[in-house]
C-alpha cells in the first residue's frame, strides 16, 4: 500500500509500487486531467507537479512519491473558480484539441511558481519537452505570459483554491 498526496489530499493506493503515477491518477483516483500520450516521457501530455517540479507521470513509479506533494491540473482550480493558469488558457483560447493542454499548464505552473518574472526565452525553453500536434504554440506562449501577469497581481496565491502547495 502506497500513500499518495494528490492536490492536498492523502490517498491509500492499492496499485503495485512500480505502477506509473499516471495510471493511478486516471484509473484509481479518477483524475483524468493528465493524459496518456506516448507512455515514454517524450511528449509531455502526462506532466504533473511533484513538490513544485514538473515530472512525466507516465514514467514515474509511485514508489518514488511517498511523502511528496503531487499536483495535477485539477489542483489548479475548479470550474467555478479557475486558477490564474487555467483562466489565462481560457482567456487566450489556447486549446485546439486540448490533449496537450493539461501538461502544458502544469509545466508552466511549475515554471511560474518558481519565478513569475520569466522572459519569453525562459518560457520557450521550459516548455520544450511538451509537444502540441495542433500547433497552438503561439497561443500557449501568450497564455503563459498572461498567467504570469495574473500571478504577479494576484500575489501569493497561485491557484484558484489555494491548493497545489
Amino acid at each position: 500500500m502506497v500513500k499518495l498526496t494528490v492536490n492536498g489530499r492523502e490517498h491509500d493506493v492499492s496499485a503495485d509500487p512500480d505502477t506509473p503515477l499516471l495510471y493511478v491518477l486516471r484509473d484509481e483516483l479518477a483524475l483524468n486531467g493528465a493524459k496518456f500520450g506516448c507512455g515514454l516521457g517524450q511528449c509531455g501530455a502526462c506532466t504533473v507537479m511533484v513538490d513544485g517540479k514538473a515530472v512525466f507521470s507516465c514514467v514515474t513509479p509511485i514508489l518514488l512519491l511517498e511523502g511528496k506533494q503531487v499536483t495535477t491540473v485539477e489542483g489548479l482550480g475548479t470550474l467555478d473558480n479557475p486558477g490564474p493558469m487555467q483562466r489565462a488558457f481560457m482567456e487566450e483560447q489556447a486549446a485546439q484539441c486540448g490533449y496537450c493542454i493539461p501538461g502544458m499548464m502544469m509545466r508552466a505552473q511549475a515554471l511560474l511558481q518558481n519565478n513569475p518574472l520569466v522572459s519569453d526565452a525562459d518560457i520557450r525553453a521550459a516548455l520544450q519537452p511538451n509537444l502540441c500536434r495542433c500547433g497552438t504554440h503561439m497561443r500557449v506562449l501568450r497564455a503563459v505570459k498572461r498567467a504570469a501577469r495574473l500571478m504577479q497581481t494576484a500575489g501569493a496565491s497561485s491557484t484558484g483554491m489555494g491548493g497545489g502547495r
Binding site: P17, D18, V55, V59, P61, L63, K68, A110, R124
Partner: protein
C-alpha cells in the same frame, strides 16, 4: 659587506625583472581595415568552415541563444571564470581588424592582436600544430561570418591568475610550438589522425587530465579528464569501455553519434559529433585510426570478457540487435522489503528497465546498461547527469531521447539507484562519495551542460550556425 650583498641581490633582481618583462612583452600587430567578405574565395571559405567544425570553435564561442561566434560563453576553471571572446569580424569587439598574421600568431603563440597573452582555455597548445594553409582557410571562414557587436564579459579570475603576464611562465613550461611534424613510420591516415586529434580537434583538452596549473598532464595523455561538469573517459589503454573500441567502432560512433555496443554521445561530446557531421569520411576515419592506436589491441583477458558480455547481451555482430539477453530484471527479483538496499533495484526495475531492457536497438532504444561505459567509469558523475537531465531531443529531426528524472527522484532515491546500478552492472567495486556527487548535481553545486543528442548521420546544412530558429 652585508650592505654590498643586499645591493647585489637587489640589482640582480631588478635585472631579472626587467629582462623578464622585456622578454615577456610582445608587440602589437597593426590593425587592418575589416576584410571585404565578398572578396574571399568561396572554396577556401568552405574549407575553412569544415576546419572550424573539426575545431569545435562554435561550442565555446557561441552563447546559448546568442549569435554564432559572438562569444560570451562562461568557462568555469579552478582559477575562476573565463568568458570566450567574440571571433566574428566586428572591428571593435571581434577580430575584424586582425590581419591574417595576427590570427596565425594567436593560434600558434596564444597572443591577441595587441600582443596580450591569451588564456589557454583557448587551446593554442593544440592549435599551434596547424599548417599555414589551414590557418589561412580558418581566417577566411571567420572573416566571412556576420560581424556581431558584442563585447565579452570581463573574466573573473583569482589573483595571480588574473595577471596575463603570468602566462609567459605557463607558456615556457607547457607550450610546445608546432607546426606538426609527421612521423615517418606512421601511415598517411594515421599521421592525418595525429594532426587532427592533437591539433585542431584538441581531443586532449577534455580527455587528458590537467595538472594544478591547468595544463594537460603529458605523463597521462588521454588518461581521462573532465568537461563542463562531465567526465571525459580515458581513450588510452585505461579506457573503461566494457567492449574495447576499435577503428570501425570509433568511426561509426564519431560519424553517427552512437555505436551499437557503446551507446550514444551526450553531454559535451554531442556537439562534437554534431560538428563532425561536416567533416569528410576520410578525416573521421583518420581520427578513429589514431585513437584506436593509442590503446593498441586489448589484452586477451579484456577481449575474453567483452566476448562473454556480447554473447550474454545478445549482440553478435553486424546486423544483429541487442536483445538485453542478460540484463532482464523481473519484478519479482527487484522487489524487496522496501528498505534502502532494495530501493535502488525497485527504482531501476520500475523506472529504467522499461526502456533499458526493452530489446529495442540503439539509437532509439535504451541501451543494455551492461554495455554502458558510464557504469564502469571512475566516478558516478555521468550516470547521475544522465538520470537527472536525460538526453534532450534534437530540434527538428529524430534523435535518441531519454526523459530526465529531475523532480521525480529525491537525493536519497537517486543515491540508492546509482549504488544499485554500479553493483549490478560493474565488477569494479562501489563508487565512493555517491551521495555527495548526487547532492552536488541536484543542488547546482556542480553545474553540467546539457546538449541535444544526435543519433543519425544527418547534419544541419551549416552546423556552425547554432542560432535557434526563433
Amino acid at each position: 659587506m652585508i650592505a654590498r650583498t643586499i645591493i647585489a641581490v637587489v640589482v640582480a633582481g631588478a635585472i631579472l625583472i626587467v629582462t623578464f618583462f622585456g622578454w615577456a612583452r610582445h608587440p602589437a600587430i597593426d590593425p587592418i581595415a575589416q576584410p571585404d567578405p565578398h572578396g574571399l574565395d568561396t572554396a577556401l571559405v568552405r574549407h575553412g568552415a569544415q576546419l572550424a567544425a573539426l575545431g569545435n570553435c562554435n561550442t565555446c564561442h557561441t552563447a546559448p541563444g546568442g549569435k554564432s561566434f559572438a562569444g560570451g560563453v562562461s568557462v568555469a576553471t579552478p582559477f575562476g571564470t573565463i568568458y570566450s571572446t567574440n571571433i566574428t569580424p566586428d572591428p571593435e569587439t571581434g577580430i575584424g581588424n586582425w590581419s591574417e598574421a595576427a590570427f596565425r600568431r594567436s593560434m600558434r603563440e596564444g597572443l591577441d592582436r595587441a600582443g596580450r597573452y591569451l588564456y589557454p582555455a583557448f587551446p593554442y597548445d593544440h592549435f599551434t600544430l596547424l599548417t599555414d594553409e589551414d590557418d589561412h582557410a580558418l581566417y577566411a571562414y571567420l572573416m566571412s561570418r556576420e560581424p556581431v557587436r558584442a563585447a565579452a564579459p570581463r573574466n573573473e579570475l583569482r589573483f595571480p591568475f588574473n595577471l596575463r603576464i603570468a602566462l609567459a611562465g605557463w607558456k615556457l613550461l607547457f607550450l610546445r610550438k608546432g607546426p606538426f611534424e609527421p612521423v615517418a613510420s606512421g601511415s598517411e591516415a594515421w599521421n592525418r589522425g595525429v594532426y587532427l586529434v592533437e591539433g585542431l580537434a584538441h581531443c586532449g583538452a577534455c580527455h587528458t587530465p590537467r595538472n594544478r596549473l591547468g595544463a594537460e598532464n603529458k605523463n597521462d595523455r588521454f588518461g581521462g579528464g573532465e568537461a563542463e561538469g562531465w567526465t571525459a573517459y580515458a581513450l588510452n589503454q585505461t579506457s573503461p569501455a566494457p567492449v574495447p573500441w576499435d577503428v570501425d567502432a570509433l568511426y561509426a560512433y564519431l560519424r553517427n553519434g552512437w555505436q551499437r555496443v557503446h551507446g550514444v554521445a551526450r553531454g559535451p561530446m554531442a556537439p562534437v559529433i554534431d560538428n563532425l557531421g561536416v567533416a569528410s569520411d576520410a578525416d573521421v576515419r583518420a581520427i578513429a585510426i589514431y585513437i584506436a592506436s593509442m590503446s593498441g589491441p586489448p589484452t586477451p583477458e579484456r577481449r575474453r570478457k567483452a566476448g562473454e558480455l556480447l554473447a550474454r547481451t545478445g549482440v553478435q555482430g553486424p546486423g544483429s540487435n541487442p536483445v538485453s539477453g542478460d540484463s532482464t530484471t523481473t519484478a519479482q527479483a527487484a522487489k524487496g522489503d522496501g528498505s534502502g538496499a532494495d530501493m535502488g533495484g525497485m527504482i531501476y526495475q520500475s523506472a529504467c528497465a522499461v526502456c533499458h531492457e526493452s530489446g529495442r536497438p540503439l539509437p532509439f532504444g535504451g541501451m543494455d546498461l551492461a554495455l554502458s561505459t558510464a557504469m564502469q567509469g571512475p566516478n558516478p558523475i555521468n550516470a547521475i547527469n544522465v538520470v537527472l537531465a536525460g538526453l534532450p531531443a534534437a530540434e527538428g529531426e529524430r534523435s535518441p531521447i531519454m526523459p530526465g528524472f529531475t523532480g521525480a527522484l529525491s537525493e536519497a532515491q537517486l543515491t540508492d539507484l546509482i549504488v544499485y546500478l554500479r553493483a549490478r552492472f560493474s565488477d569494479k567495486g562501489p563508487w565512493t562519495d555517491v551521495a555527495k556527487h548526487v547532492r552536488d548535481a541536484m543542488t547546482g553545486n556542480r553545474r553540467f551542460a546539457t546538449y541535444a543528442t544526435r543519433g543519425n548521420a544527418s547534419a544541419p546544412a551549416d552546423s556552425s550556425q547554432r542560432e535557434k530558429p526563433w
